[in-house]
Symmetry: C2
Subunit: 267 residues, 2 copies
């Protein structure tokens, strides 16, 4: 337990659940009140309340959409020209404003709800979140530790229907760290965001109202200690750990017994 | 190369790309013509052309939506009552009709495009794709090898912008088999579908028109040999490999050096 005063931060909460009175809705509301009481400035992107458009299409790029559509190139041109749709530009501005981004969502089919994936697909455009920096035979962009959003931090707050054992090292679903890797490393660390260890609530299908106070207290503790929490030490792409141009982890750098996603965590 | 005659099959293609003239659009069209020429019956769910609604909400469950909304319970009630929306019922019917399901999509941010995730979120309802079979202290449902869609097969056809080396065992993105595990095991094998090894085209950002004929030939070869292709041998949940109720893989069953997702493949 900690009560170290934190410096006031700018915190964006991206929330993806259709029911305000759900557990996810309650955790989002609790985050807002807890963070504001601690003196932070909080903004919320409540994707269902905003009726967020989930599917990338030519409408996103206005006059910069080509025919046939080329998603990467056209999104980069529209980003450069400032002609992305207003909804996407507003989210990019919130990301640039924020010090910390919290994502609140239920794990549906082992990943984010579609509406949140659509927030990523549409907001993380070429030249904003990828296609940043030199791409040549000797460098493959500024990403994984560098990028537009470097210096910011993120935290996933996730609920699962199934129990924790199913998500453990030998559990049938696969380890939760591996299930979240494509989000934490592939989406968030890619444009430079440092990612704090996730806050995961398991077994919510069978959670009772009596269990909520303990859950709320644990969530508040995480929120009050954001400053002191160390991020997951993902390896940076351009600082010597990877071969160029293969971007293979160099031989011998792995921790004992590591393979797969875990190779890319240096701890 | 094989020319073994295949028995006529019912094949559903679920396609998720906004541009008909894209590589993904071409691969989908080629699959339709190749499979029809081989005598198979083919149906296509072209999600962008259908303007597929991506976000789960109360509208999906009609009169069976409760307030506050409970996604699992309400979707199961609407499924049981036959009151799911017509678009969702049509997709469930196509899945029940099909012998084989092919998914054609670009890997966006290391996962499916939002519109395809929304197809899963909305079509794979409680009592149809999950919450099937006994759930007790001694059994956790019929899933991972059993379920509503047991006996069917699926195949992912995926394009990636980045090169193959980035998706290899030591590649910075993580191994492609691990990136696809939440889809192949978590979404498809869960309701019982056997999953064939994926058809992955890498480096499509820099692919030239001159490379397409070889790509097309490789895709046609996969399509013409669906029958002879062995599925990924994911471990079945209820046939002795897992402890009950933890659903941990039993000690000693793993292949040498395996951990994480790979524990759940028995080959």
């Amino acid at each position: 337990m900690s009560s170290t005063p934190q410096s006031p931060k700018k915190i964006l909460i991206v929330h993806a659940h259709p029911e305000p009175e759900s557990l996810n809705g309650s955790l989002k509301d609790l985050a807002v009140s807890t963070l504001e009481e601690a003196g932070h400035e909080v903004r919320v992107s409540d994707l269902y309340a905003m009726k967020w458009k989930a599917a990338v299409d030519a409408d996103d790029y206005g006059p910069d959409a080509s025919s046939p559509l080329q998603v990467a190139r056209d999104s980069g041109r529209a980003f450069d020209a400032g002609t992305l749709g207003a909804d996407v530009r507003a989210e990019q501005e919130k990301l640039l404003w924020a010090d910390t981004v919290i994502f609140q969502f239920p794990l549906w089919w082992y990943s984010m709800p579609a509406i949140l994936k659509g927030w990523v697909d549409r907001v993380f455009t070429f030249h904003f979140a990828y296609g940043v920096g030199e791409h040549s035979d000797t460098k493959y962009g500024e990403r994984f530790g560098e990028g537009t959003l470097a210096g910011k931090r993120a935290l996933l707050s996730v609920t699962t229907g199934g129990p924790e054992s199913h998500y453990s090292a030998r559990g049938i679903n696969g380890p939760i760290d591996d299930l979240l890797f494509p989000i934490q490393h592939g989406i968030l660390y890619y444009p430079g965001i440092e990612v704090l260890p996730p806050f995961v609530l398991y077994g919510t299908d069978r959670m009772t109202a009596e269990e909520y106070p303990a859950v709320a207290a644990a969530w508040q503790e995480r929120l009050r200690t954001l400053d002191e929490t160390a991020p997951i030490p993902f390896r940076r792409q351009n600082f010597g750990d990877y071969e160029i141009p293969s971007l293979h982890l160099k031989p011998g750098l792995e921790r004992t017994g590591r393979s797969g996603f875990a190779l890319h965590v240096d701890a």
